[in-house]
């Protein structure tokens, strides 16, 4: 589930939020293959999908997509795919992989998208647990990974690949080129013209539409089973609230295996008919974004943070006049921008200045970012720093937070237009009932609630009550306006030994908002005070170091520089003085910290594939470091194992300095004011 904002644990204002009814299932088009046929009939000549290839945007209309899906489905059926079979789909955002999802659904199979950057060993669990029979993959990289573990999975029968490059000499008879599968499908279709339509007609709303494995911050991943009805209703409810139409545009660039991408880039496109574009490669997303100018955009906070960091770095290198203009108009934007977006009263002078700023700064800036045409811009996945959030809103981008989870088919709450508060995640989406349990846990019930965890009834029973309420595992509260505020993971909210509240996520998020800090892990539960392990942001700190004439040759060297320690220490002290102002959290000020010699990495198991810190794993792996943080030494020795991109392992060792940080007591705080 998602993390959201938090700001102290005050007494709850309410325990449940107001309910708005949502849509009901359209009986004629109750599955996604049926929706595809509808789109091909209703808006057959409109663009459904685009992909940048060979430097040019190639596009497919709904009618063409329907034909491709039909051919893939027939081809897979020729290869032996039957109803109920699980099909792994692995690769970047490629049109054919999205079409494969629809093709598998057409045949009543179960698509199981998997994270494309997982190493072979990590794929084992899902392949085995889902009982995958077929795999449809993007390219040689994925084929190689499957071949590495091939012997372990007798139930895995064949692999279809989209890009034949480099696979010419692979002799295995279970490898199939997608082009051949398509050709065989078309031939079969011309000989059995009613086959595909009959298969699609057999699908019903209650069938499993997709199985998505949650990346699991703790324990093994769980296969969340979502039905066509779950996804259809959630997608259409949110689309109606936001007024999405077939004229919208979006960019599909987040992992296929992530529920958000499935809803934003697949389900909502099928439901409303808007066009989804695939970037040229994962490295070109920002360029493609700029060329495309989507109207509907989604990104987790780290991406917005990266974009802002890049802007700030480039501004620091700009000429003095430009810097002056930027900082002046950003001041105007902070004062007036968000209010103008929310249609609140703003003075004439500020309005005029804001308009000027639009001409000179915000307009060109939004254009550079590719966000000129954005009408709805979601962020979720974790908390977004209030300053970051306000920055985007102030330059006129309608950025909104939402709160959701795989178990909810994404949407639980959305910030409604005109009621945006940086520290809440909004009100329940249509059709969602929301309440806060006595222990502070957020619970919801909606048409999007998952059917079950695949082959895991115990976990299903733990998470979902018999009457359909789902435990989110998040601690939160509902404020007087019915907005949900998330504090932390319920199990992560801890206490210091003196009983002071310790909300690690809250501290980490506050620190991560400093552009020099990329990742933070806070410790303090059952300890005397709080400490943090910090990852610096190589790009931002590197640039800072360059300007200050500090030399370095690697991340490790840069992170060990005393000047960099000074920089981070200053930022932590700044946060401490901010924390001191919040009565519940003043005790959570940081006393000691160190800069880690390597970046936390999903390949080393320290982050999940969606880049969330796996707290317990980190605590265990760096236990010597944590002991030292709570000791008195000013440095500690550590050796860690790292995994290279090709799966090989090596070790790096380092001697890490530990610094004490000044904290602010309540008395000092008063004296300062």
């Amino acid at each position: 589930m998602n993390e959201g904002q938090g700001a102290g644990v005050a007494a709850t204002a309410a325990t449940s939020a107001p309910f708005r009814p949502g849509a009901s299932v359209d009986l004629e088009f109750d599955t996604f293959p049926k929706l595809l046929k509808r789109n091909a009939a209703v808006r057959g000549t409109r663009s459904a999908m685009r992909e940048k290839d060979y430097g040019i945007w190639q596009s497919w209309t709904w009618a063409e997509v329907a034909a491709e899906v039909r051919a893939i489905a027939c081809g897979l059926s020729v290869l032996g795919l039957r109803r109920g079979d699980a099909v792994a789909i692995i690769g970047d955002n490629r049109p054919r992989l999205y079409w494969t999802i629809a093709a598998v659904q057409s045949l009543g199979g179960i698509p199981v998208p998997m994270y494309q950057d997982a190493v072979a060993d990590e794929m084992k669990f899902v392949l085995d647990h889902a009982g995958v029979r077929f795999a449809v993959v993007e390219n040689q990289e994925q084929v190689d990974k499957l071949l590495q573990v091939w012997e372990d999975f007798p139930q895995l029968e064949l692999v279809v690949y989209d890009q034949p490059r480099g696979l010419r000499h692979y002799r295995q008879d279970f490898l199939h080129d997608m082009a051949n599968v398509l050709a065989a499908g078309q031939k079969f279709d011309s000989e059995n013209p009613s086959f595909y339509d009959d298969e699609v007609a057999m699908g019903v709303a209650g069938d499993t539409a997709i199985m998505l494995y949650t990346s699991g911050t703790t324990g093994q991943p769980k296969g969340v089973v979502l039905t066509h009805e779950n996804i259809y209703l959630t997608a259409i409810n949110a689309a109606q609230q936001e007024g999405l139409t077939e004229r919208d545009e979006s960019l599909a660039y987040l992992p296929l295996a992530w529920v958000g991408d499935h809803i934003f880039s697949y389900a909502q496109s099928y439901v409303t008919g808007f066009c989804v574009s695939c970037p040229e490669s994962s490295d070109t997303v920002l360029t493609d974004l700029r060329e495309l100018g989507p109207s509907y955009f989604f990104a987790p906070p780290p991406i917005f943070e990266n974009i802002l960091t890049t802007v700030m770095i480039r501004m620091e290198d700009a000429s003095a006049l430009k810097r002056k203009m930027f900082s002046y108009f950003m001041g105007v934007a902070r004062r007036a921008g968000a209010n103008i977006l929310d249609r609140e009263p703003v003075g004439v002078v500020d309005r005029l200045l804001y308009w000027l700023g639009g001409v000179f700064v915000y307009g060109p800036l939004k254009n550079t970012l590719g966000l000129s045409r954005v009408r709805i811009c979601y962020t979720a996945g974790e908390a977004i720093g209030p300053d970051l959030f306000v920055f985007y809103r102030s330059i006129g981008i309608n950025m909104k937070q939402l709160y959701g989870s795989t178990e909810a088919s994404v949407f639980i709450t959305i910030q409604p237009d005109g009621e945006i508060k940086p520290d809440t995640v909004g009100t329940p989406a249509p059709g969602v009932e929301l309440k806060v349990a006595d222990d502070g846990e957020v619970m919801f019930r909606s048409p999007g609630v998952f059917k079950e965890y695949f082959k895991n009834p115990e976990a299903t029973a733990e998470t979902k009550t018999p009457d359909g309420w789902v435990h989110t595992g998040d601690a939160g509260l509902i404020d007087e306006d019915g907005h949900l505020k998330i504090i932390d993971r319920l199990k992560d909210v801890g206490r210091l030994v003196d009983g002071t509240l310790f909300a690690p996520k809250y501290i980490e998020n506050k620190l991560k908002f400093f552009s020099h800090i990329k990742e933070v892990v806070a410790f303090g539960n059952q300890q005397k005070f709080c400490t943090v392990i910090v990852n610096i942001d190589l790009e931002a700190v590197g640039n800072w170091a360059e300007r200050g004439g500090i030399t370095y040759s690697s991340y490790q060297e840069l992170a060990a520089r005393p000047q960099v320690y000074d920089l981070i220490q200053e930022e932590i002290e700044q946060m401490n003085s901010e924390l001191a102002k919040e009565q519940n959290l003043a005790g959570s000020q940081i006393h000691r910290f160190l800069l880690l010699h390597k970046e936390l990495d999903p390949d080393d198991g320290e982050l999940t594939r969606t880049r969330k810190v796996r707290r317990n794993f980190v605590a265990e792996k760096y236990s010597t470091v944590i002991e030292a943080l709570y000791g008195t030494a000013d440095h500690c020795q550590i050796t860690t194992e790292v995994t290279f991109e090709d799966g090989r392992k090596g070790t790096i060792s380092a001697d890490l300095a530990i610094r004490d940080v000044r904290t602010v007591t309540a008395g000092e705080q008063l004296a300062a004011e």
């Binding site: 190689d144 010419r168 000499h169 199939h176 065989a184």
Partner: protein, 288 residues
Amino acid sequence: MTVTEVSAETAAQPNAEPEGDGAPTAAPERVFDEVLLEISGVSLSFGGVVALSDVSFDICKGEIRAIIGPNGAGKSSMLNVINGFYHPQQGTITYKGNVRKKMRPHRAAAEGIARTFQNIALFRGMSTLDNIMTGRLLKMRRGLLWQALYWGPARDEEIVHREFAEHIIDFLEIEAIRKTVVGQLPYGLQKRVELGRALAAEPELLLLDEPMAGMNVEEKEDMSRFIIDVNDEFGTTIALIEHDMSIVMDLSDRVVVLDYGRKIADGTPDQVRANPAVIEAYLGVGHG
């Protein structure tokens, strides 16, 4: 019914076996019998310094041929001889059946020999795309005036070549730096762009002078993959100089070893590895 792919090219390779370990490099026991380039009795000296003395070997069509040897062994001189930059005092070079006496580098380029350099030689102020397009220059027929007008046949020609350049960009996975000025790129990427420019000339014989020098492990693996893929997809014959022995042994079909300007061994990686002269040269026993 089946949709298994058996293309004409793959069927033509009788000895390729299924590889269950999932880490296929060049297919084992590839057979090459058509000689593309033959060097015989080549000697080259600069004043009193002997760079090459009586070196003979051949490069077969479709193979990956490595030239190895300690520093100063004459490897780069050998590439320069092949590509027409140096003219040997003795010996002959037979390329595609024609015996060459003297050749200028641009003639070599026109006959299908392209190369990359030990020290990157790109146009640093131009974008990746433009650098790759320069590799197409020899294929463009319209003159300066037509090009400047960018109209009619000149434009059509430009579009054809641009498409070719885009295929190379896609092949080398450098889409993200298509419009980046080359001078700003990290070293590993510049090497890749240089390979792209060489490929743009659609060479039959590609000479790579230390394509992996100064790269980290991951960059080396990427580059090896591209070299194998170039050989595989386009059937380009490749002659490369490289210092990293493990990579040379994995990549190449045959290896020729030079030491002090003389050929001391020639054969498959296994044969070369077992050759006492090579071991001696590399362990430095004879050189004190």
